[in-house]
Point group: D2
Chain length 347, copies 4
Amino acid sequence: MRALRKTAAAPGAELVEVPVPRPGPGQVLVKVHAASICGTDLHIYEWDAWAARRITRIPMTFGHELAGRVVAVGDEVHAPVVGAFVSAESHAFCGHCRMCRTGRAHICENLRILGVDLDGVFADYAVIPAPNAWEVDPRIAPDVASVQEPFGNAVHTIFGADGGGDLELATVAVIGCGPIGLFSIGIARAAGARQVIAIEPNDLRLGIAKRMGADVLVDPLHEDPVAAVVEATGGHGAEVVLEMSGIASAIDQGTRMLAHGGRLSLLGLPTAPVALDLSDQVIFKEARIFGVTGRELFRTWEQTTTLLGSGMVDVTPVITHRLPLDRFAEGFEAVASGRSGKVVLTP
Amino acid sequence: MRALRKTAAAPGAELVEVPVPRPGPGQVLVKVHAASICGTDLHIYEWDAWAARRITRIPMTFGHELAGRVVAVGDEVHAPVVGAFVSAESHAFCGHCRMCRTGRAHICENLRILGVDLDGVFADYAVIPAPNAWEVDPRIAPDVASVQEPFGNAVHTIFGADGGGDLELATVAVIGCGPIGLFSIGIARAAGARQVIAIEPNDLRLGIAKRMGADVLVDPLHEDPVAAVVEATGGHGAEVVLEMSGIASAIDQGTRMLAHGGRLSLLGLPTAPVALDLSDQVIFKEARIFGVTGRELFRTWEQTTTLLGSGMVDVTPVITHRLPLDRFAEGFEAVASGRSGKVVLTP
Amino acid sequence: MRALRKTAAAPGAELVEVPVPRPGPGQVLVKVHAASICGTDLHIYEWDAWAARRITRIPMTFGHELAGRVVAVGDEVHAPVVGAFVSAESHAFCGHCRMCRTGRAHICENLRILGVDLDGVFADYAVIPAPNAWEVDPRIAPDVASVQEPFGNAVHTIFGADGGGDLELATVAVIGCGPIGLFSIGIARAAGARQVIAIEPNDLRLGIAKRMGADVLVDPLHEDPVAAVVEATGGHGAEVVLEMSGIASAIDQGTRMLAHGGRLSLLGLPTAPVALDLSDQVIFKEARIFGVTGRELFRTWEQTTTLLGSGMVDVTPVITHRLPLDRFAEGFEAVASGRSGKVVLTP
Amino acid sequence: MRALRKTAAAPGAELVEVPVPRPGPGQVLVKVHAASICGTDLHIYEWDAWAARRITRIPMTFGHELAGRVVAVGDEVHAPVVGAFVSAESHAFCGHCRMCRTGRAHICENLRILGVDLDGVFADYAVIPAPNAWEVDPRIAPDVASVQEPFGNAVHTIFGADGGGDLELATVAVIGCGPIGLFSIGIARAAGARQVIAIEPNDLRLGIAKRMGADVLVDPLHEDPVAAVVEATGGHGAEVVLEMSGIASAIDQGTRMLAHGGRLSLLGLPTAPVALDLSDQVIFKEARIFGVTGRELFRTWEQTTTLLGSGMVDVTPVITHRLPLDRFAEGFEAVASGRSGKVVLTP
């Protein structure tokens, strides 16, 4: 079969022929129908400092956003069955640490990640742990099923904090409108936000933000996002800020645009320590800052299924590119350029 | 009457004779029984950069931790009545902003503070807004009644976040054992913490920490507090960290000693922006950081009354100095030296 | 001025001339623009067993849902000012009991109610406590402003329980589509419910339920509402049930249509004890039952203002009758008949 | 081996010789060290109406509270290993229903119970599902390890509702001081309750309640428990009521002794519908009623381990009888008589 692999500790990747893997005990083999590109994949592809430090297995197939059909199961697998159409939770959890035992497997103390620590899904076939397979609701189109993983990041960012009870009727500011930011806009809209403000310098993405339901569009290169949010909220600031960019200055601005008592959820990963004015922007305002990672297993997947299956959110505006696997270079270029929403590869 | 006043924009203060103030509409006049010294008062006394920037009214009587008897009431005051023995909430709230109207008057958008924005309580008599007077439970000794205000900071830090439901059975690390940190240790113990770790370089304070119920004492000058917490928790980290020092490096350490999914409450006020490793210490761990200020009005005061009135917490080990008002210089010296817990002035 | 009064402990009411009342200290006088009829008013009008037991002041002006303009203020009133257009919170709270002091004034231990314990608003002018006046957002039409009070009941029923964090993406069943039930449908829809099921035997009200956004309409006289909800939820039951009828059998059905872990909020007032199958319908399912009364002061009013002011919910389908005050008999008849939504009287 | 079995649909049980069972895939074989008697076991032993309706497999070994050593494991079992000393979660969950997939396996839609639906643990050896085995913390004495299961019921009753954030500083009333009620007293005390009131007619159990930390003891045969709780709380009522008796009149009293805004947790199982005054005792007071069943998997077991392993709660006063398995009749008699706390059988 074909697999897109990192074959050297250097930029780029190679589409090579490798044997179809065999599912071991507790694993399933999936014939890949769609595999979408995540920002993490771009880091690995470009082999930046993070990737050079984080990726220790080479050669390795990468990619972790998947939809496909189960074609074989290993020993000890009771579900899913052969023939099931599944998406994949990309976080493999140990199942026995304190986090796993108390319902927080997504912050497992021994987490391993598909396409990072384990062989990934940019290939004709992929092996995944059976507990990581999530059966795709038949109301969800196969071609959008692979984006449930990053969509789940957005769901978890929004609902993770106290069930999202602070989102309803709130002004929600979304900083950074990559695919997860764009999904967040649609979810916030569906989940009862009063007003959604999208902050993003890329006009193509700002246009998609509008289609996803943003009420106010802010280009931070042309206007001060803090001032824009303060103005749009009658001077109060936003009750909820979702930080999807990972940019230090944007995180700092996130704290400044927060209302008293507001919530800042951090999903974007900064590459260096970030200096924050904790006294004035966090302590005196009694702001709450939540780190967010992954998806709650499997509450987030249930919510994702509801949102996508019921049509509460339509993700089609976000998917801008569908390319065959062998045009992967074009796909990564689209992601790198920012002239894209989500890019889906189809083996 | 005598009043301890800032009479110049410079270090120090003067005990001067001034007329007894008259309570205006909605205000009460209190004969001061005890007034304790807060770290904020020391900033004002020493006239550091913060005080120089923040204090705009001079001359002004300062001090804001009070217990005393109501001796006169202004117009429109229905409670408290003359003769009541009261303590004072130091945060004067507007009552009509969005925070006040939604049960969050302690983060009022128009907050003014006794002894900072309004004349304070280091005097024979003090005027306070009637809604800020809290009748002292008769089971609480008059001489400890003035510390209810800072004790309330500790209560609110502990219980503010989702009702403190994450504190029970948790390992709680307290960074900084000034009076509020010391109170926190006693409260955490009373409120069902499994283990309390006190982190403080001052050995006198560490000794009080032990008397307040700390299980593990860590002197950060002699051992790495992050390593100490990790070791005391079997490698997991503390579920709850209460940051009472305001020191940048300590806040950074606070994030590093947190368990996955843990909570870091920030009460200590750093004087400059603080750089945090958000990716590894907050996002991947799904840590929650809460800014904390003041006391919930008046839920915190109810809780304080319960804790002190029922004897669940005994604050007497924390009160190290009781001095007549005219020995204020000695009191401030004791606070500045760190060779003290709480210092109470008695007019 | 004219006032609709109970002048005898018997069915009916009289529109009589009385002097315009004068606002005492802490009170304001409102020229009534609109006053809507609540189910409670019908009980008083018809003088049923509840009214005969509960109402102890006769003669008394009744009615408690109000919108109007402040024309005079008593002593000690700083807000609202003369000229303000206000609605009224109908629950007068003492301000000093433990509930009031801890942010729960709506369940004040010394609660008094406008039009029940105090003279009410079916009149040309009404006196209300100043703290109970809520300035009407200018985006809300004066003619719908009086329904903010019962709309607030619906808001509080939905959002009161843990901030409504369980409502998002949930199936919500509303039992009883009087005005508050109808408002609830619109709010649940705006607040991110996945599916709203309306249960009501009256076809006029079921028609309004559909206009308010109900997805599934159930007439309990013609089909089993428990079976209908179970079917509409793929066998799981509804995550949230809002009980607005007060009918014993409907409350019992409410527990039976709940999903495992679901929430039943009780607002409708049964007139006698209700027998529930606690073992199978509450304990084994880990259901949560919440009593609901009034509105959180004033969080609910903020939420109401957002929902109505921003256009997230349109209440005009619910207001079926607008009548001059002297046609009150017609209004009560419309309420009694059930051939109505909300009936608004305009002096 | 010996096994205590129901061999007929009639009162009593027989200790019979049966083959040692073999663990199937996903199961482990445990050599039983201790097995304690639950109220459910008494129902089965006495063959009351509930048992006659609920138990469909005869002959069947019963009992579900276990501690013992793993002596063999079936296929597909990775943990626990042979030699591990384990206790058992008695609720076997399907792992694939909506509850299981969203972290609520304890209210699994396909729940089966050890000793009820599956062969139980009153025997020399028992087979249990591997995921139901919980390794006993070495700080917990083997002879008390079997009571972790009912202790967990108490833990879950207390902490299940919003993390127990309402328990701290609260007055907690415990209705019914069988073993789970007695455990609850110790846990409430450890978890920061201000005052614990025990309500129980049996003086032996009331004596144990005192040893577990109850502040107020109420014998409902000699004084009105509602009046006693109201008096002990200065007229306010208890913020938290834990109902462990399942008696209809006691549940009704539970609602009447609740403070405004209080929480009533129901664990005791009534045998028939219970009539409650919902209007005055639940709705107007905004009470919250929580059904409680089982233990959160495995958060409750972590909490149990902390409470017992750290010595925060000492359960030894509750264990009144330790008997060899062949004296089972004596054990059941002790449970039936009420002249006992927990009865532990040791094969």
